[in-house]
């Protein structure tokens, strides 16, 4: 029997939570949570002002109702598992992934970054087009990168180029 993600340390495609619809992804940014294992953790649920995260008890893995999610980013600020990604598809055919970033040097708008998938493989390069600076969120910076649309369900880590 394969133990799946607990053997590998990353999720395969078939283990991912359901994708938000293309229509929803185009409307505005939406929270996509990759936290499949029952663990005693609930700050995402507790921080969501829109009641978009479902969690029956503290050990229940979170499920996002993409229609209710307003994209406010409260949950991604506090998630200790770095398991939440804000995703968006733009009209110009590009995609955007926002992720938590806690390394030096801090990234700034305009920085070029290498893009990595869940396994740590490089999948391309992207540009940072927005950040929440670390000092505004107890040293967890939020970084939004512009990536090819087809990579929004792939890119899960970034590193500065050079």
């Amino acid at each position: 029997m394969s133990l799946g993600y607990l053997e590998r340390g990353y999720l395969e495609k078939e283990e991912l939570p359901p994708f938000p619809s293309e229509e929803r992804l185009k409307k505005k940014t939406v929270a996509y949570i990759e936290c499949p294992q029952p663990i005693p953790c609930s700050p995402c649920f507790e921080s969501c002002p829109a009641n978009a995260i479902e969690m029956k008890n503290i050990n229940d893995p979170p499920k996002v109702d993409y229609e209710k999610c307003t994209g406010c980013m409260k949950c991604i600020r506090v998630c200790p598992g770095l398991a939440i990604f804000m995703l968006r598809l733009r009209d110009d055919g590009m995609g955007e992934v926002t992720l938590q970033y806690e390394f030096l040097p801090w990234l700034k708008k305009g920085d070029r970054v290498k893009l990595y998938n869940r396994k740590g493989e490089e999948v391309g390069e992207g540009v940072v087009n927005w950040v929440l600076p670390p000092e505004r969120n107890d040293n967890t910076s939020l970084v939004r990168v512009e990536v090819p649309a087809e990579l929004i369900f792939e890119v899960r880590a970034v590193r500065p180029v050079g």
């Binding site: 005693p40 609930s42 700050p43 050990n59 770095l82 040097p105 590193r159």
Partner: protein
């Protein structure tokens, strides 16, 4: 990138290292630069010292291991006093530090050649049967042998300080100022009980002070907040309660029929003995790190995961350039992430079980940064002469045996052993608590009621000493113990009883998931029959 100077991190994404005044200490007569607030071991490590002592029989080099005063691997002579754990004393200008085993010192020890031959000349145990021709010969040889083994010389310094005795009466004594102890003190204190909390460190927070990551749990238990900040939040709450007194640098050495003996350090030359009469005692002394059997596991560079965290996150000292992590529980996974934050590379994480032991999300964090996780693998040996230069790992078969031909060499200059903790239970034993070996809880733990009272009436436990769990559980247990103490002393009335019920319910819910299952199973084996609060 992260800037390093004199072995010390100059910047860090999370921690702002505030170093004290620069001072000079002398290590085997050589001047070493240090900063006030650093321990001797930390300062020496930053200066590049890796060999802290020699083993007493084979004279094998030893480094530090735990960095929190629990393993004795770092003992040296400090200002003429032998057997001082250098990870627990703080530097002072002009301090004289010497390695006490090895000739001329631990680094260059000429006796290390014995590693190969000593078993032929002095088979194990032969010191009992040799040199017994006369008492004189025996005494002479025993003296030589003691010197040779490096247990240190008796202090040359004569005690110059003053020794005082202070007698203290209080409702509650809390031993240990980690999350468990602080929570117990807060919750007993807030209902009016007179509380004295002591901790042997010059700071409160216990293990929290090195946990730079955001915590799990519920927002009520401050999840999403960094461990280092939680320590500060609890301390502030504690200091806000008038009837709670805190004494730092105060170590409890024994509990005798409900009275505790402690030693409080006042300054470099002064200290006093405390005789504490408390109606209730809460022991929250935490845990120490376990090690693992493999070839060369005593080589400097093989460290406890918590030891590396202390070095790196408390003192801002870089442990090395490339680490290998043994164990994929939360501690190993979190440490891997923290090493990367400090600009240190991690070669791999090895795990003997067929699956990652800690939370998946912690594993995913480092996996996406390219750190391989080898499940069903173990470390076979550490390589290197005076410190770690590499390691060999291998795949395990279904019967946990290494599969020949699967050995893989890993390049690394330090190895972190993250294979779990065991409760620091000595005080409980000594106080006469009934103890039991419960593997699910990390080792030998006290029997306790569901309110955390042990078999010795009035003696409570909270946190890791009651069973290895984590900080959120330690805080919850501290709350239960603290309120029960208050209630049984007659404080708090109905309100306290109601909160106690809630607290018990909350911890049950917290432990209801698969990660709590183990704990719940363990607790079943050591819970005394439930008490009813009247």
């Amino acid at each position: 990138m992260v800037k390093i100077e004199h072995g010390r991190l100059q910047e860090h994404p999370i921690v702002d290292f505030k170093r004290g005044k620069e001072v000079t200490i002398y290590f085997n007569d050589q001047p070493v630069k240090a900063y006030e607030g650093e321990t001797v071991a930390a300062a020496l490590y930053a200066a590049g010292v890796r060999v802290f002592s020699r083993s007493f029989r084979w004279h094998r080099p030893r480094g530090f291991f735990c960095a929190i005063g629990k393993c004795s691997a770092c003992m040296m002579e400090v200002d003429g006093i032998p057997n001082v754990r250098t990870c627990k004393v703080y530097v002072r200008d002009g301090m004289q530090v010497r390695t006490q085993s090895g000739l001329p010192d631990a680094e260059k020890d000429v006796f290390s050649i014995l590693d190969d031959v000593i078993d032929k000349v002095f088979p194990h145990g032969s010191h009992y049967s040799k040199f017994t021709t006369s008492k004189k010969v025996r005494e002479f040889m025993v003296k030589r042998m003691r010197k040779f083994t490096g247990f240190g010389n008796p202090p040359r310094a004569v005690f110059q300080g003053r020794a005082e005795l202070e007698e203290i009466e209080t409702d509650v004594l809390v031993v240990g100022g980690g999350p468990g102890g602080m929570s117990a003190a807060i919750n007993a204190g807030k209902y009016g009980a007179k509380v004295l909390l002591v901790d042997e460190n010059p700071f409160l927070g216990g293990q929290l002070v090195k946990q730079t990551h955001r915590f799990f749990g519920s927002a009520k238990e401050r999840a999403g907040t960094r461990g280092i900040r939680i320590a500060g939040i609890l301390e502030e709450e504690l200091m806000g309660i008038e009837n709670v007194e805190v004494r730092k640098e105060t170590r409890v050495f024994g509990i005798y029929n409900g009275e505790a003996g402690a030693y409080q350090r006042l300054n470099d030359d002064e200290g006093k003995l405390l005789r504490i009469r408390a109606k209730k005692i809460v022991v929250a002394t935490g845990a120490y790190e376990r090690t693992l059997i493999f070839e060369n596991n005593d080589l400097p560079g093989v460290y406890g995961a918590g030891g590396v965290q202390t070095l790196m996150n408390v003192y801002g000292i870089k442990p090395g350039n490339m680490g290998l992590i043994v164990g994929s529980g939360n501690v190993g996974l979190i440490l891997t992430y923290q090493l990367m934050q400090a600009g240190v590379n991690v070669a791999a994480i090895v795990e003997a079980m067929p699956r990652i032991g800690g939370y998946f999300v912690h594993a995913a964090k480092v996996r996406r940064l390219g750190v391989p996780i080898y499940v069903r693998h173990t470390i076979l040996k550490a390589k290197g002469r005076k410190s770690v230069e590499g390691a060999v790992i291998a795949k395990l078969d279904d019967r946990w045996q290494p599969i020949p031909g699967t050995e893989k060499e890993i390049k690394c200059d330090f190895i972190c052993v993250a294979v779990g903790l065991s409760p620091t239970h000595e005080l409980l034993y000594q106080a006469g608590c009934e103890m039991k070996f419960v593997p699910e809880l990390g080792g030998i733990v006290p029997l306790r009621s569901k309110f955390n009272e042990t078999s010795v009436k009035g003696l409570y436990v909270a946190g890791d000493v009651a069973g290895i769990e984590e900080a959120t559980a330690a805080i919850m247990e501290g709350r239960i113990a603290g309120i029960h103490v208050a209630v049984t002393l007659g404080y708090g009335g109905e309100e306290a009883k109601k909160e106690l019920e809630e607290a018990v319910k909350e911890i049950e819910e917290f432990r209801a998931g698969p990660f709590g299952e183990r704990i719940v199973n363990g607790l079943k084996k050591c819970t005394l029959e439930d008490e009813v609060i009247s």
